[in-house]
């Protein structure tokens, strides 16, 4: 990663910073990240910031601006906050709105609006934004003729439905009569720089003419707040990231299993990293050295040791996207590469190495890295509670493996943990708090936990916490996996908790034990009478795990259970569940 061209730092200051960062060891980077956030928190003068113009004098009447965001993991929210601050400096009267709480009707009088929205699942909106999103897309949505807007879409090019949510919002607003003041900005995972540019430009467009002049400088200052170290986002009250030791690493499936789930423990001793059950731990990715070697061979860069090191832990060298292919075809100039660039499905199921193999080209180090996006960290739900396991965090990692191009392939981080890591080695991690996925404050509250596969991880943390606290609230766990005998993750622990009463009930679904497939949603339906009594009694329902199929099917099953129990129709059930979601009784952490 090189410092983005649009960095709000003068080039002469940037160069040494860049050099220093590149030379830094992971530990040094960690320390730096912590240092920078601490420095900021302490309100110290910004030594690295460029000279800043004094804030423009506020205009007499401020222009109202709604900044509407939809977020799952907090990125959009952070950007929306930055935009709010920038807007404030520019003399707007900004109003920050979470789509989770907003209505379409309120937009009719908003006047001007910035929308920042991420995409989840398979082109879905963040879950708490679902109600708004549905209302916006509904045929009878309020028309919005007086609204001027711009959309920033967050996404990940590795997904087929890239930035789908942002795109649909953008198109729909126009359909509803609103005026688009800028084309939509679609961001990949390295969104920091384009987001800043978009914010700057959009505010400039929306700003009253008299204040436009002040905007540049003000924006720069606002944006410097986010010095983005990609893998080490700062947390509120602790160091952002740390290199932690792996203290345990064991495959929980039997040797006969077709699945591979690794229980990984890391020591947080002395790092100051803190987490709550429900949070996730981000692990900085490390690419497979063999793949790095393959890429260097293909591009004729085998001798470049510095590049090799960078490709291991700084660049995404697997994800293949159409823009990458197009850029590569431009560099290569060969017909084969151009043909591939014209093939809309080439990127599907393929990785960078497949492109390099199919259309070899010699590249310079800079050309190669110029094609690549930064390597994003991967998140894993914590499967422990600190009061039960002390200063350590437990993770449950499913090895992602598949066959492609006649080769066995595996996920960058899960494959690394499964195949190349050993106890005693270190991982660079950060804590990703998930305030929306926590146990109820009230220890007597009923909870229903639905977590097949690795989705069960946070619930192990929940039960550890409830056990430590002596909580007496009834709890019900739905778990599922492939085979009872080979994949019953943490079986003995659930049995103990059932015996001691920490866990009141457990239902299991094993899909491959019998001719017909059985999943957790089938168990939900089988247990509908009892389940409805729990729901009706105010139980908090948690769903964690696979977003593609499971969360959808579980959601549908819950709707049926509710319709059946409450004696309502489908719409009634949807309304019931929406209310539950709004009231914090239906929480999902799906990926």
């Amino acid at each position: 990663m090189s410092a983005p061209a649009l960095a709000p730092i003068a080039p002469e200051l940037l160069a040494p910073l860049d050099t220093m960062l590149h030379a830094a060891s992971p530990e040094q980077l960690t320390w730096l990240a912590g240092y920078v956030s601490g420095f900021r928190a302490a309100g110290a003068p910004r030594a690295v910031a460029p000279p800043v113009a004094p804030p423009a004098a506020p205009p007499a009447t401020r222009t109202p601006l709604t900044i509407l965001y939809a977020t799952e993991s907090g990125n959009s929210e952070t950007l929306a906050n930055a935009a709010r601050k920038a807007a404030q400096r520019l003399g707007f009267a900004p109003r920050l709105r979470d789509m989770a709480d907003a209505t379409v009707a309120e937009l009719a009088s908003a006047g001007q609006m910035l929308v920042i929205a991420s995409t989840w699942g398979e082109g879905d909106p963040p879950q708490r934004a679902e109600a708004f999103y549905a209302a916006l897309l509904a045929a009878d949505a309020t028309r919005l003729p007086g609204l001027r807007f711009a959309v920033l879409a967050l996404g990940d090019r590795a997904y087929a439905n890239f930035c789908e949510t942002g795109r649909r919002i953008d198109a729909r607003l126009v359909e509803l009569g609103a005026q688009r003041v800028r084309p939509i900005e679609e961001c990949d995972l390295d969104y920091a720089a384009p987001a800043r540019a978009w914010t700057e430009a959009s505010l400039a467009t929306l700003a009253p003419a008299s204040e436009a002049a002040a905007s540049d400088a003000a924006l720069s200052e606002a944006a410097v707040i986010r010095v983005d170290f990609a893998r080490a986002p700062a947390t509120e009250d602790g160091p952002s990231a740390a290199a932690v030791e792996i203290t345990e690493r064991v495959r929980l499936n039997s040797s006969r299993s077709t699945a591979e789930n690794w229980h990984v423990e890391v020591s947080l001793e002395g790092t100051g990293l803190r987490y709550e059950p429900g949070d996730a731990i981000g692990i900085a990715a490390r690419n497979d050295p063999a793949l790095v070697a393959g890429i260097l061979d293909q591009t004729g860069l085998r001798e470049d040791a510095a590049l090799a090191a960078a490709l291991i832990d700084r660049f995404d060298i697997t994800t293949l996207t159409p823009p990458l292919i197009a850029a590569y075809a431009g560099l290569s100039g060969e017909k084969r590469a151009r043909d591939i660039a014209a093939d809309p499905v080439f990127a599907r199921e393929r990785q960078l190495i497949d492109l390099l193999t199919a259309a070899p080209a010699r590249l310079t180090s800079a050309q190669l890295t110029g094609l690549l996006r930064p390597l994003p960290p991967r998140l894993y739900s914590v499967a422990s509670a600190p009061e039960a396991v002390g200063p350590s965090a437990h993770l449950l990692v499913a090895a992602v493996r598949w066959q492609a191009q006649g080769q066995a392939r595996s996920g960058v981080v899960s494959g690394d943990l499964a195949d190349r890591r050993a106890v005693g080695e270190r991982l660079l991690v950060h804590v990703k708090p998930n305030p929306h996925f926590r146990l109820p404050e009230d220890p007597d509250r009923r909870i229903v936990m639905i977590g097949p596969g690795t989705g069960v991880a946070p619930f192990r943390g929940f039960l550890q916490r409830r056990e430590a606290a002596g909580a007496r609230g009834p709890s019900w766990l739905f778990f599922g996996a492939r085979q009872f005998t080979h994949d019953f993750l943490y079986q003995l622990e659930w049995q103990d908790w059932l015996k001691s009463g920490v866990l009141s009930r457990m239902d299991v679904a094993f899909s491959r034990d019998q001719p017909e497939k059985i999943y957790v949603q089938d168990r939900l339906w089988e247990q509908r009478d009892a389940l409805w009594r729990w729901l009706d009694d105010g139980a908090v329902v948690y769903v964690c795990g696979d977003a593609k199929a499971m969360a959808r099917d579980v959601h549908a099953a819950l709707l049926r259970v509710i319709a059946d129990g409450a004696g309502t129709d489908a719409d009634g059930a949807i309304a019931w569940l929406r209310t539950a979601q709004r009231d914090g009784r239906y929480k999902r952490d799906v990926y």
């Binding site: 039997s254 040797s255 229980h263 009872f484 943490y490 049995q495 299991v508 019998q514």
Partner: protein, 562 residues
């Protein structure tokens, strides 16, 4: 009775074999059922087991033992229709480990049925008009019968096997309630058990019917051996042998295998009564305190054969006639095509250690789809494709050839049996089913080298001294002691009428081979015409003949006698 064994209390408290099995089946978080219930499910033909190959890793993976259930069919005489075969194959695939295990008692075992599949499995068995009732437990087990459809009296003997099995079946409806209807009668009273009694028998009870000249059932290895005596194409009656059994325990000389005593002859219309009262005498006189001495063989040793016979005849109300003459020629199975007077053909298919899996399973699937006769399981773990009309023979032969099921293995391998042992058998001390084929590879080569390749020698291996493959009645017996080590027994008669004796202790496969080589060589050089290997080693003085069960541990070779 004072100090009865724990099993007696479990049976007495079981409400007719119900216990809390149904509750145990409903608990989906464990693969096991309550410990006491594991004793009761046996009466329903079901054993709780765990995969011993996985034991070591289970603690690490935070999972309980890899529990599953073994279910054993009750198939008197071993006769199935091809449709039943196909249904059982499908059941094994859908609910078990995908294999069928033909047993030494002419039935099929299914391994690896996890708890959630147990009721569906039993229901699929029931739907195929089969059951698992009393296939295990302290009751009369599957009644076995020489599978020789070429014999004029086979049908009659088979009918007797069915009648005996039905007559001695528990009256309890627990099997149906728990596994089929799924509606246990809460608090329901146990049914009366007029023959077996409220606490059932002290121990398992076994009946075999032999049709001479074949002794494939090992008529002297069971509580009750019935030897059918033919006269004019019908069964004139049965010679009655009582008190046979195989099991013993290493290091406990008061346990031993025993060949049954021939005590008389009964007519076909007396046979049910004879069986019933052998059962009731054992029911009332058997040892209910120590399960290791509870079999009929120990009852007879304890009260004496004369007392036993007197009590039996008192209950029968008549005296048994004198046994009739008969001849046994062999205890192993024939091989290949056989036919009888009626012109129908039968193909005797060798199934190594009874395990039907992989290509064999696929081949038999094809046969079963084409076959309109019967499938008869043999007491040597093999399979007879029976009742092939002359005009159908070529078609079946073609299927067998296409699946390479017609290749004849060596004479030694054809006469070999191994019990299941690891990984499912909880009692196994050493490998058996998975070890014997490799050992035979070596022995086969040695025999061929000495020109004995076509000589039939019986060899049987078990993973522990319980004797499930009847090893003490083989010419070469191998009984597991600990992983990789076996005791070697020699001198069991080829026709199954004489027990073997311990020849070497604690030896591994290489030592077994080294120890047999010189004996094979001497046999090849010195045998009398038609002399079997076991008879030779006795004549040559390598081992003493065992004349009775209670002499099994006597007259050991000098170096072992200590």
């Amino acid at each position: 009775m004072t100090n009865v064994s724990r099993n007696e209390i479990i049976k007495a408290d079981s409400r007719g074999l119900r216990g809390s099995i149904a509750d145990g089946l409903a608990d989906a978080v464990t693969g096991a059922i309550a410990e006491d219930d594991t004793q009761l499910t046996k009466f329903h033909g079901i054993y709780q087991q765990d995969d011993r190959d996985l034991r070591a890793e289970r603690m690490k993976t935070r999972m309980e033992k890899a529990f599953s259930f073994m279910a054993r069919l009750r198939v008197p005489g071993g006769v199935l229709t091809p449709a039943q075969w196909l249904a059982m194959e499908a059941m094994a695939r859908d609910r078990g480990n995908g294999t069928l295990r033909l047993t030494t008692r002419q039935t099929i075992q299914f391994h690896g049925i996890i708890k959630s599949n147990l009721r569906p499995a039993i229901q699929e068995i029931n739907a195929a008009m089969l059951d698992t009732i009393a296939a295990c437990g302290d009751v009369n087990r599957n009644v076995i019968c020489t599978p020789n459809p070429a014999s004029a009296i086979h049908a009659e003997a088979l009918a007797t096997a069915h009648a005996l099995s039905a007559h001695l079946l528990p009256k309890s409806r627990a099997w149906h309630e728990i596994f089929i209807d799924g509606a246990p009668v809460a608090g329901g009273d146990a049914e009366d058990e007029p023959i077996l009694g409220r606490t059932y028998l002290p121990r398992k009870f076994k009946i075999a019917i032999a049709i001479p000249p074949y002794n494939d059932v090992d008529a002297f290895a069971h509580e009750l051996g019935l030897i059918a005596i033919e006269a004019g194409g019908a069964i004139a009656g049965y010679n009655v042998a009582v008190g046979g059994g195989m099991g013993m325990t290493h290091g406990e000389p008061d346990t031993f295998p025993r060949t049954g005593d021939l005590i008389g002859f009964c007519t076909p219309d007396q046979v049910l009564a004879v069986a019933e009262h052998v059962v009731t005498v054992q029911r009332d006189f058997g040892d209910r305190a120590d399960r290791k001495h509870a079999r009929l063989k120990y009852t007879i040793e304890r009260i004496g054969l004369a007392t036993f016979r007197a009590e039996l005849e008192r209950r029968l109300g008549f005296a048994l006639a004198a046994p009739r003459a008969f001849t046994f020629t062999r205890s192993g199975d024939p091989s290949g095509w056989i036919t009888g007077a009626d012109g129908r053909w039968h193909f005797a298919l060798f199934v190594e250690n009874g395990r039907v899996a992989g290509p064999l399973l696929a081949g038999l699937h094809a046969v079963a789809e084409a076959h309109d006769g019967r499938f008869i399981l043999t007491p040597n773990q093999n399979l007879l494709i029976a009742d092939i009309a002359p005009e159908r023979r070529a078609a079946i032969a073609a299927i067998l050839a296409a699946h390479r099921l017609d290749a004849a293995p060596s004479a030694l391998r054809r006469n070999a049996m191994a019990c299941v042992a690891l990984p499912t058998c909880g009692l196994a001390l050493a490998e058996s089913e998975r070890a014997l084929p490799g050992l035979i590879d070596g022995l086969e080569a040695d025999l061929a080298e000495m020109g004995l390749g076509d000589d039939e020698i019986t060899i049987r291996m078990t993973g522990c001294p319980n004797g499930c493959a009847r090893p003490y009645l083989a010419e070469i017996g191998l009984v597991g002691v600990k992983p990789g080590l076996y005791n070697l027994y020699l001198g069991g008669a080829f026709d199954g009428t004489r027990l073997s004796k311990l020849f070497r202790r604690d030896i591994g496969p290489d030592a077994i081979r080294a120890c047999l080589r010189p004996l094979f060589a001497a046999y090849a050089a010195q045998r009398a015409p038609g002399e079997h290997f076991a008879d030779y080693v006795i004549r040559a003085g390598a081992i003493a003949a065992t004349t009775a069960g209670n002499r099994f541990h006597e007259d050991l070779p000098a170096e072992l006698a200590a």
